[in-house]
Amino acid sequence: MPVNETVKEAWLINDKVNNVLLEHLTPNMIEAHIPGSGYSVAQHLAHMAEAKKFWGAMLNEEQAGTLPDLFKEERSAETNLAQIKDVFAQTSKVTLELAKSTSDPSDFPYASLDSYLIHLIVHDSYHRGQIVLALKTAGHPLPDEGALWGPWRTETIE
């Protein structure tokens, strides 16, 4: 079954939310992490891109498998924001295009292409939540709530 129009819409909204976060980040925020807790902001972002690439490569190794990585040697992550934004844009576009163009996902371990995309959106949100908490703990300003959540809605809520 092809990707549902509403799920495609949700994917693009999720892209917007990622862009809000990426536009908010500055170079001094990118290494923030909660001591003893694992990933830095940069590593969370690298993992978000990596997850999309991993699953996309199962649909099409040639197109998704050649996407650039944001992880470098020994799991250190890219900290150049321009590069991060570029990889996010490329990865998201390829992921959606592959989902739209796949006619037979029979070997793909998801019940549907919709489920696959929603899983990736939920995965992004999980790591966005952790990024926001890491920024807060490190004393950095947070992205505007209205900007972060607003893209999902058609009207601003008072």
Binding site: M1, G36, Y110, K136, I157
Partner: protein, 161 residues
């Protein structure tokens, strides 16, 4: 029908993730806060239920509006529920009520979303955002996170190699 079958299925999978989280939690974990002194784990859970209830009332004020809360307001303070059995019960009631409400709905009513599907996906994203924060707060406090395959595995029909 205004809700797609695939989004309904994703809703159930998301419910499954919440159940894994709630089963993993112990009473002492509910009071854990991140070093930023943000909400406690119990506070996050109360917020997740409250958010579903708030948005759901835009579709059915009476039905969804009567769902129980996981917090109470007392003399200027908001106290989150710390009885895990009650939290699990309210989560289940709320999730089921929302799904039943959207299944009955002829249209999106007063919901300020492009569609019912996007509304539900947003609620799942909202859950995901705060699940991430809950588990990060717990990890920082020294707790081992739930098994990754248990937590995320509901999305797959087969475990990936």
């Amino acid at each position: 029908m205004v809700i797609s079958e695939s989004v309904k299925e994703a809703w159930h999978i998301n419910e499954g993730m919440n159940k894994v989280l709630l089963e993993y939690l112990t009473p002492e974990m509910l009071t854990v806060q991140a070093p930023s002194k943000d909400w406690s784990v119990a506070g996050y859970l109360a917020h997740l239920a409250a958010s579903k209830k708030w948005w759901g009332t835009h579709l059915d004020e009476l039905g969804v509006g009567s769902l129980p809360d996981l917090f109470e307001e007392t003399t200027g303070k908001t106290i989150a529920e710390k009885d895990l059995a009650r939290i699990k019960d309210v989560f289940e009631q709320t999730s089921q009520a929302i799904l039943e409400t959207v299944e009955r709905a002829a249209n999106k009513g007063k919901l300020p979303y492009p569609s019912i599907d996007v509304y539900l996906i947003h609620q799942m994203i909202h859950d995901g955002h705060h699940r991430g924060q809950i588990l990060l707060a717990l990890k920082t406090a020294g707790y081992t996170p739930p098994d990754d395959d248990d937590f995320w595995g509901g999305w797959w029909t087969d475990q990936p190699l």
